[in-house]
């Protein structure tokens, strides 16, 4: 198999006062080396838990079953040390809210630099060169100077660019993007989507793109997984899911999207 990521029968269980609850149930999908797989669902669908399970970042108390293999390496049940080696180096993640995802007390340069040095070592001076290059790659103007600035000194779109630069500084083979454009304005969202697609294309990495927005998914993913209440509803190529949805829930979701091209009166309940 040349698949990059293979998720098989993934189940994530949380203990609650009313007994264990499966927030993800028997989810299976694969991500190829050079493609984007979209996971789409409404709130409570388990899409974010799936991504955290891949990164080994589930909250304390969560238990998992099934299998997640990255390039043949089993992630579920890997030791903390092994997971640390994978995270940031072979798989990276970006999040919905870039402001709170960056530490306000440190310059963005340092926050990228520490990731690079944790995996590649080397001197700070050498790492700084890499950081500047990474920031330039994501289209941040004047990267050398801006690396010395703090997160709050950037706009929302710039912060997400910084998160992307950080995630990609070690050239991982898998990028997980969890609602990376949800908090952004629509024009900025378009720029970030284009940037992600470009960078993914250049590097040939695999990407898991998680969102509640079907239109966003359709513009970036080659394959789509639809989730609902922890379960996998539909899984297929983007074309198949959007043009010939097999499941009622998917059809309902697609019908719910407010359509920019439709005049008012065509829409009905």
């Amino acid at each position: 198999m040349s698949e990059l990521l293979v998720v098989e029968d993934l189940t994530v269980t949380f203990p609650t006062t009313r007994g264990p609850v499966d927030v993800v149930k028997d989810v299976s999908f694969t991500v190829g080396r050079d493609e984007t797989v979209g996971i789409v669902g409404e709130s409570g669908s388990g899409k974010s838990m799936t991504s955290l399970a891949i990164m080994g970042l589930l909250p304390r108390g969560a238990t998992t079953r099934g299998s997640i293999r990255l390039d043949g390496t089993e992630v579920l049940g890997a030791s903390a040390r092994e997971l640390r080696r994978l995270r940031g180096d072979r798989m990276s993640m970006i999040f919905q809210d870039p402001l709170s995802s960056l530490n306000p007390y440190y310059t963005v340069g340092l926050q990228i630099e520490e990731l690079y040095r944790a995996h590649r070592g080397g001197s700070r001076a050498a790492a700084r060169e890499v950081v500047t290059g990474a920031l330039r790659q994501v289209g941040l103007p004047d990267p050398e100077r801006r690396a010395r600035h703090y997160p709050h000194q950037f706009s929302g779109g710039q912060r997400q660019r910084i998160m992307i630069a950080m995630a990609l500084v070690c050239s991982p083979s898998l990028l997980i993007a969890d609602e990376p454009t949800t908090a952004l304005d629509v024009t900025v969202q378009a720029q970030i989507l284009r940037l992600l697609a470009d960078l993914r294309g250049q590097s040939g990495m695999g990407m898991v793109f998680i969102t509640h927005d079907l239109a966003v998914i359709s513009s970036i993913a080659t394959r789509v997984l639809v989730m609902r209440r922890g379960e996998q509803v539909e899984y297929g190529t983007a074309e198949q899911v959007f043009a010939e949805p097999r499941h009622d829930y998917t059809r309902m979701l697609l019908d719910s999207i407010p359509r920019i091209d439709d005049p008012l009166d065509e829409v009905s309940a």
Binding site: V186, A215, A243, I260, A269
Partner: protein, 270 residues
């Protein structure tokens, strides 16, 4: 007939830094528009465009720095006391986050009766019956009138917020990102509800939103705001199909769309 007229509304915020340095910032810059009776006027824009500040000014939750606000021909820019109470009886607001705008310690019934008590309205059949009637109108089970907001889902809670706005039978309802926080399937239902309520009662909406696709589903006219100004104001069809302003065009082009070919094929199957 013009219900509400905003003329050159301006809001300047003066921030005083820790060094005593003053920094002026004009959030809304000479914004003018009319809202006609029975229509829906959408105000769209990205963050920092001034749309929410505009909403708060026309809801009289924020005093404009300059400009005037007229409601039914009466200048209400600086309305106080009885005039303000009358205005509040005619203009209601539905907010983005239903849970933070509903008192968690009050039952739905009490929440829905509060505006009547405030306005001194005693409807036929009593306030309690009126509250149940309101719940029915917005598609909630009136038997749940003694429940608390936390016992409802996000979509249901927003219905409570809408019912509260309608309690006093207003002439204008300002929706400030009222469907932005909802899941897409719930959002579609709430938009449909808002449209039905307007058909039934004939009031006007000012619909503040960042999502242009949502706006297209509900508004007859659209004002596009950017950096505190209205850059384009026209009928929904004109703004969406023949945008005159460069910024409007950028905004429209940025909206992610599903491949129309896929859409067509899916629709043919139904």
């Amino acid at each position: 007939m013009t219900l509400l007229r905003a003329k050159d509304l301006t809001k300047r915020f003066v921030a005083r830094g820790p060094l005593g340095a003053k920094a002026g910032f004009t959030a809304v810059d000479r914004v003018s528009f009319d809202v006609r009776l029975g229509e829906t006027l959408a105000v769209v824009g990205e963050s920092g465009s001034g749309k929410s500040t505009t909403a708060r000014m026309i809801a009289k939750l924020l005093e404009p720095s300059e400009g005037t606000l007229e409601f039914e021909g009466e200048d209400v820019t600086h309305a106080k006391g009885a005039a303000l109470a009358r205005f509040r009886g005619n203009v209601q607001v539905v907010f983005q986050d239903p849970f933070s705008s509903l008192n968690p310690r009050h039952t739905v019934e009490r929440i829905l009766m509060a505006p009547l008590v405030y306005q001194g309205i005693a409807p036929n059949g009593g306030r309690r019956a009126h509250a149940k009637e309101l719940m029915e109108r917005v598609g909630l089970n009136p038997d749940h009138s003694l429940r608390y907001p936390a016992q409802f889902s996000g979509g249901q809670a927003q219905r409570i917020g809408i019912a509260r706005a309608l309690a006093v039978n207003p002439r204008l309802v300002i929706c400030d990102e009222a469907v932005s926080a909802l899941d897409v399937s719930v959002q579609a239902q709430v938009i449909e509800l808002l449209r039905r309520l307007q058909r039934e009662s004939g009031f006007s909406y000012v619909f503040i939103a960042h999502d242009l696709a949502v706006v297209r589903q509900i508004a007859q006219r659209v004002a596009v705001m950017s950096k505190g100004r209205i850059v384009e104001l026209g009928t929904t069809g004109q703004v969406f199909d023949d945008p005159q302003d460069e910024y409007t065009r950028t905004l429209l082009a940025a909206i992610p769309r599903i491949d129309p070919e896929w859409e067509r094929r899916r629709r043919e199957k139904i």
